[in-house]
Amino acid sequence: MANRLVEKYLRPSQIPTKACHGCGIGMIENWILQAIDELGWSREDVVFITGIGCVGRQTYATWGGDNVGATHGRALAVATGLKVAQPDKKYVVVVGDGDAAAIGTSHLIHAARRNLGVTVICEDNMGYESTGGQFSPTTPAGYVMNSSPYGMVEPSFDPCDIVKAAGATFVAEYTAVQWLQTKKAIKKALQNDGFSFVHVRFQCNENFGAYALGTRDTVANIQWIEDHTRGVDRDGRPTEFTWETGIKHDASNSRPEFSRLLRDLNTRVAAGNGRGGHG
C-alpha cells in the first residue's frame, strides 16, 4: 500500500508522476497534502492551479479534485478570476521559478498587491529544467547552465523579497531538506485569508545537477541543497552562499482579502453609498 494520502487526495491515473527520479516536486507535494490533511480539508475544498514547466506539469492533474493548468506565467491571473468569482474555496497555486519569478512576475506582484486569498507554493529548482536546464532569475550567480556556458552573468533575486514588497501577508522560504518547517509554513499559509507565498528550493538531478553541479547523483544533489541550507558542507567548510530560510513575514489575516474588498464594494453600492465622482 502506498502513502495513505494517495487514496485520500490524488488521482490514481496520474501517479506515479512524470517527475524524474529523485526530484523534489513529489516530496513537496507530499508535504502540501499533509498540511491539507492536518487542516481537515477534503478534495472538494481545494483547487490546485499550476503553471508550465516541471513544477506545473508534474503536479498538474495529480490532485484528485479540480485542477487548472494555466498558460506559462499566468496561473495567478487565472487564480484571480477563480477566487473573485468563487471565494469560498481554497486555491493552492503550484508554480516553478520560471512561472513565478520570470514570465509571471507581474501577475505575482499584483496578486500580492491585491492581497488575493490564495496560497502560492513556488517550488524553485533554480533554472528552466523542463526545457533542458537553462538559467533562470533564481539561478545562483555565476553558475554554468545550458544557456550560460561561461557562467551566468546576470544577477539573480529572491522572489520572497518581491512579494513581500508588493504586499503579501505571509511569506516563507525553506528548502527540500526542511520537511517539517515547510509543512508547518504551508499550514499557516493556507490559513491566511490573504496572499501567502511559500518558496521552497529543491534539487534537480537531470539538469541542474548535471550541468551546474556536475552530477546526476540524487544523494549528492540533495546534499548540495542541505549544505546551502545549513551554510556548511559535510566537511565543515562554509558554503559560498547560504539561503536564509524561515518565515520571513507573517501578517496573516491583517489586511482585507481582495475578493472581500469587491464584495464589500457591492454591498456599499447596493446600499447607495458606493457612488462617487461623476455620473
Binding site: A2, A19, H21, M27, V177, L180
Partner: protein
C-alpha cells in the same frame, strides 16, 4: 532539521544491489507498519539512505515503470521516525502505528 548520511558515490545513479551501510542496531519493536507500493518507486534511494534502522532493501524484480524498486526488508526494526515517509518523492511508502492502538487520523 533532517540529516542526510553522506555516502560517497562515484556517480553511479542506479545502485543495483547496493548493500546497506552499517546502521544502528536496535532490538526489533514491531510497533510500526511499513508498506510500499513498488510500482511507484523510481529508485532514488533517499529512503534507504536516510533510514537509521535498515528497514528497506533493493528488490531484485524490476517494476512496471522500469526501475528496481525498494522493498521492506525488516519492518519490525522501524522506530517510526517517519523520515522515509517525508523524503520519498513518489508517495511509495506508508508508515503507520500498528493497530494495537487507535490509528491517528490527521492530527494537527
Amino acid at each position: 532539521m533532517t540529516r542526510f548520511r553522506h555516502l560517497v558515490y562515484s556517480g553511479c545513479t542506479v545502485p543495483l544491489f547496493e548493500p546497506a551501510k552499517a546502521k544502528k542496531q536496535l532490538p526489533p519493536s514491531d510497533k510500526w507498519s511499513v508498506t510500499v507500493e513498488k510500482n511507484f518507486c523510481k529508485a532514488c534511494r533517499f529512503c534507504i539512505d536516510v533510514c537509521p534502522v535498515d528497514v528497506f532493501r533493493w528488490s531484485t524484480e524490476v517494476n512496471t515503470i522500469g526501475w528496481f524498486p525498494i522493498e521492506v526488508a525488516h519492518e519490525a526494526n522501524c522506530v517510526g521516525c517517519m523520515l522515509c515517509y517525508q523524503v520519498c518523492p513518489d508517495f511509495v511508502i506508508n508508515v503507520e502505528p500498528k493497530k494495537t492502538k487507535a490509528p491517528r487520523e490527521g492530527a494537527a
